[in-house]
């Protein structure tokens, strides 16, 4: 019954990023307990931790392989997403410094939570066993629930946290039920074994369908794909801007990572069953996200809807169910993370204390008030629209190319039209920034803190680089997307 379960050093190495992150997380917790006065240095420690984890991730990538009885596997795909979520965490912490400062919530727990949540996301990116998936998802989610409600005296924060928590656990229950059924049908929770079992296929197909459906619900909820997108706008609107940035980029990317992994490895054998479903969900997601955003006046909420729409584009890549498609999704998620975090960073700056100014008209005349920030914001918005020479465009472009290579002509056309319609509500932001005079009431903003400026600049430059010289990332993505075919 028990083979040789002595983990080798390389197995620990493959798990090193998570170990580092949790270690530093605990350190920060300890320090927090004894800390006096400003807590900025805790954030710095967190940044160091993430950097270390990133290096560890690269190191781990160079001796890839499974670890801990196939609980996780380090492959290009996993490392890619590990790197992505780490990047996200890094930027979000940078964004958070001045924000927490301003809101008087400068505590170590915030950074610790980010780190722990990153642990969960790293696990999600590399997990190859449903139990790990479950635990990773829970770690990531629960940490995020807390972050969403981090400013506990803020009504919107509470509400956001509550909604996210209740609905999240609700969906997790479905996911768990799905895992149970998978286990019941294949007597295993390892993705590869599941695939093997399903390929022999003496399980009643209907129950496989049931299990797949339940898993689909769980994942779709986390990546806010229709019809499970419903929580997104409220939660994004309510949470603090840096947290929203984090939620919309990190957990989402990790969830997509596992979503693709599970459906393209375990359920590949009967993909012709679930592809139509994904097709429909992709379309519905795009339409709901874009159309509902048209009338938004609250920028954060608007970006919430837009993140739904973007999830739809990624779903197109899943519908393509090809190596190109996976690569496209990977690329897309990176570019989306960058532009979205950038946008939210700008908002967290403009919103000012207690996020008073999060309406579109509050941005009026930003181009005059803060030309540089406004210009960078414009870059993010144009990237969200999908204007060439930005990462957003290239991501969309690559997704649609993948779709067409898989003969998804209509989905492509509809997606393209959607992206054009989306331009309308993004442009409202640009209009406010550049084409309206600043109102007398808007007070002079303090100059953005260096950390925030760093975050914004970094994401802007990243966005542009992805748009102009995507080759490197693209090659890596499509190379490591070969993992499951």
């Amino acid at each position: 019954m028990f083979g040789n379960f002595q983990p080798t050093s390389s197995e620990y190495l493959r798990f090193l990023p998570e170990i580092l992150l949790s270690f530093f997380g605990i350190v920060i917790m300890m320090l927090e307990a004894v800390a006096k006065g400003k807590r900025t240095y805790l954030g710095v420690i967190a940044l160091v931790a993430i950097a270390a984890a990133f290096i560890a991730n690269v190191w781990a990538y160079f001796n890839a392989g499974p670890a801990f009885q196939n609980m996780i596997v380090v492959d290009g795909y996993g490392s890619f997403f590990r790197g992505l979520v780490l990047l996200v965490g890094f930027l979000c912490i940078l964004t958070a410094f001045s924000y927490l400062e301003r809101e008087g919530a400068q505590t170590g727990e915030y950074y610790a939570l980010i780190l722990f949540s990153l642990v969960g996301q790293c696990i999600l990116s590399t997990a190859t066993d449903l139990i790990m998936v479950f635990i990773g998802l829970e770690i990531s989610s629960i940490a995020t629930y807390i972050l969403a409600g981090f400013l506990r005296d803020d009504r919107r924060n509470n509400e956001s946290a509550l909604k996210y928590f209740l609905l999240g656990s609700f969906a997790t229950a479905f996911l768990l039920y799905g895992i149970a059924w998978i286990y019941g049908l294949t007597s295993s929770t390892n993705l590869e074994d599941i695939r093997r079992a399903l390929t022999q296929g003496q399980q009643p197909i209907v129950l496989v369908g049931l299990a797949a459906a339940l898993l689909f619900v769980g994942f779709a909820f986390k990546v806010s794909v229709a019809p499970f997108q419903i929580w997104t706008p409220d939660v994004y609107q309510g949470a603090a801007a840096p947290v929203t940035a984090f939620m919309s980029a990190g957990p989402k990317a990790a969830a997509f990572a596992i979503f693709f992994r599970v459906f393209l490895t375990s359920f590949r054998p009967f993909s012709e069953r679930w592809l139509p479903l994904v097709w429909g969900c992709a379309l519905a997601t795009m339409i709901i996200g874009n159309f509902a955003a048209l009338l938004q006046t609250n920028v954060k909420r608007l970006l919430g809807y837009s993140s739904i729409a973007h999830a739809g584009y990624v779903m197109i890549a899943l519908t393509a169910a090809s190596q190109v498609g996976t690569a496209a999704a990977m690329f897309y998620l990176v570019s989306y993370a960058l532009m979205n975090i950038g946008a939210f960073a700008v908002i967290s700056h403009v919103a000012s204390r207690n996020e008073r100014h999060v309406k579109i008209e509050d941005l009026a005349g930003l181009g005059k008030r803060e030309p540089v920030i406004a210009a960078l914001f414009a870059i993010f918005v144009f990237s969200l629209i999908g204007v060439p020479l930005t990462g957003g465009f290239f991501g969309k472009f690559y997704v649609f190319q993948a779709a067409l290579n898989s003969h998804l002509v209509w989905l492509t056309v509809l997606g393209l039209v959607n992206s054009a319609i989306a331009a309308y509500y993004y442009l409202k932001i640009i209009v406010a920034i550049y084409m309206h005079e600043p109102r007398a009431t808007t007070e002079q903003l303090p100059p953005p803190a260096p950390s925030l400026r760093l975050a914004i600049w970094a994401s802007a430059i990243g966005t542009l680089i992805l748009g102009i010289f995507p080759s490197a990332l693209l090659s890596f993505a499509s190379f490591s997307a070969a993992a499951f075919r």
Partner: protein, 515 residues
């Protein structure tokens, strides 16, 4: 390092240079003007090889841009007899645009100049791109600065207008993107030249239906941009709301992007599709010609009037392109340039009128010729050019277009020629109400053109006469290029008779598909 690359690079460098100049100094203007002038003179160097052989692409830039297992994209540029002249038009008009902006743009000049240079960068790219991906990229790159200029410096209703302009154009261009991607999924490359060779050699065969789909995708983008009736309704608002330098460039250069695309891509890449749609499009074009003219007849606002008039004039261009014969194509290209110059001049003059009177309602003018004879004369010349008076530029283009249309289908020429009558009617009537008659007291001390304003107009006027009298300096290279282009599409001549592709097409299609 090809000259074309330099021509493309200078505006971009200029753009960044302007960003680093001091907002309040004269720096932005100087840098911008300098950059655009250098671009212009550099671009003159492109003429030589094209004159030598206009059919082939010369001063080519062709380097690997994006290289990944899934996707290779080459950065491929080049000029031949068709796009060279449009490129030169761009590089010529941009300095003029910057020159006039100095006086016409009141605030945030620096940003405006920067945007103008970015716009030039995009346009040069659009006109010289030989790779569909690159083409699309520049296509959008040119759109954004124009959108910002319209929205940032326009008239009272600038915001909604700009958004409408952007979204409308975007709706068209995403469909084009769809076509481009589809073409890639069929041919396995974005490179225009390679695709053309593949089509010519039959390595890639597109069924009639596929071609139709492709064509419609392309047409959507180009029809909106040109614009072709009935996709034109963004145009009057945008032209009237935009600041005059922007209107100037919109009308003179940007509208040519669409027409150029129609000629270069939609007709050649999907010849059968083109042939299947020809009659419909010609109907639209002719409708546009007459419709635009009739509406221009009764406009109260000069800008709006000229906006509708360019709807009418661009109808001619489209007609010439879809006559699908030598005269038509030559005329279309020639008319693009001519219209760029004449309408450009008209819009500049309109701008000067607006500067002096703070209004463009025809009723506010009248008898301007007495206090401002120079202005009146310049306007008359531009006007005569744009109603197609011989020895001025537009005549040659219109003549060839109508001739080509007549060769293709005589009745087309008959209907289109009505537009020529009407153009005289609406422009002369406008001129009468604006410049002639008694001078009312408001306009009694209406300032005449200043030296710097003449400086902006003279090049255009001289070009009008040059293009109108000695066409041989341009026409041979254009003719060669269009002839070559028509050859490439003429493999579809058998399609003219039967619109179905060869029987083995569908089978070879599978072979051709690149997974």
């Amino acid at each position: 390092m090809s000259l074309l690359a330099i021509v493309l690079a200078i505006p971009l460098i200029g753009f960044f240079a302007v960003l680093f100049t001091n907002r309040d100094s004269k720096g932005p203007f100087v840098v911008a003007l300098g950059a655009s002038l250098i671009t212009f003179f550099a671009s003159l160097g492109l003429i030589g090889p094209v004159i030598a052989n206009g059919a082939q692409f010369s001063s080519v830039v062709n380097t690997l841009w994006i290289d990944s297992p899934g996707l290779q994209i080459r950065f491929h540029l080049g000029v031949d007899g068709i796009n060279l002249w449009l490129l030169l038009l761009t590089t010529l008009l941009l300095p003029i645009g910057i020159w006039v902006s100095q006086s016409m743009i009141a605030e945030r000049k620096k940003n405006f100049f920067a945007l103008l240079l970015l716009f030039e960068f995009g346009l040069i790219g659009v006109f010289s791109a030989l790779d569909l991906f690159v083409f699309y990229v520049f296509w959008e790159v040119a759109l954004v600065p124009m959108y910002l200029m319209v929205g940032g410096w326009g008239a009272s209703r600038r915001g909604p207008t700009a958004v409408k302009f952007f979204v409308y154009t975007m709706l068209g261009s995403v469909l084009m993107l769809g076509s481009i991607l589809y073409l890639h999924s069929q041919a396995g490359t974005f490179d225009y030249v390679e695709i053309m060779n593949a089509l010519a050699s039959g390595r890639v065969i597109l069924t009639s239906g596929q071609q139709l789909a492709l064509f419609i995708g392309f047409f959507a983008a180009f029809a909106v941009k040109t614009p072709i009736f009935p996709f034109h309704t963004w145009l009057p608002d945008t032209y009237t709301q935009a600041p005059t330098p922007a209107t100037f460039l919109l009308a003179a250069v940007m509208s040519k992007m669409g027409a150029y695309g129609l000629l270069r891509y939609s007709v050649t890449l999907a010849p059968t599709g083109a042939h299947r749609c020809t009659s419909w499009i010609v109907v639209l074009a002719i409708t546009g010609i007459i419709y635009g003219a009739l509406i221009a007849l009764i406009q109260f606002n000069i800008k709006r009037l000229i906006a509708y008039s360019s709807l009418s004039h661009l109808g001619f261009v489209v007609l010439g392109i879809f006559a699908l014969d030598q005269q038509g194509a030559d005329g279309a290209v020639y008319q693009m340039i001519a219209h760029g110059i004449s309408t450009g001049a008209l819009f500049l003059l309109v701008g000067y009128l607006e500067q002096r009177r703070q209004s463009l309602d025809i009723s506010d003018f009248g008898g301007i010729a007495t206090p401002a004879p120079g202005l009146a004369t310049a306007f008359m010349i531009a006007l005569l050019a744009s109603i197609g008076l011989p020895i001025l530029c537009n005549f040659v283009g219109e003549f060839l277009i109508l001739q080509g249309a007549a060769v293709a289908h005589f009745s087309w020429a008959v209907y289109a020629a009505i537009g020529v009558i009407l153009s005289a009617a609406y422009l002369l009537w406008m001129y009468q109400r604006t410049f002639l008659g008694k001078t009312n007291e408001h306009n009694s001390r209406f300032a005449d053109l200043t030296g710097r304003e003449w400086a902006s107009l003279l090049p255009l006027i001289l070009l009008m006469i040059w293009l109108g009298t000695y066409t041989q300096s341009f026409m041979p290279s254009i003719s060669v290029a269009t002839a070559h282009l028509l050859d490439q599409t003429s493999m579809s001549n058998e399609y003219r008779v039967n619109l179905s592709p060869p029987a083995n097409a569908t089978r070879t299609l599978e072979v051709a598909n690149v997974r």
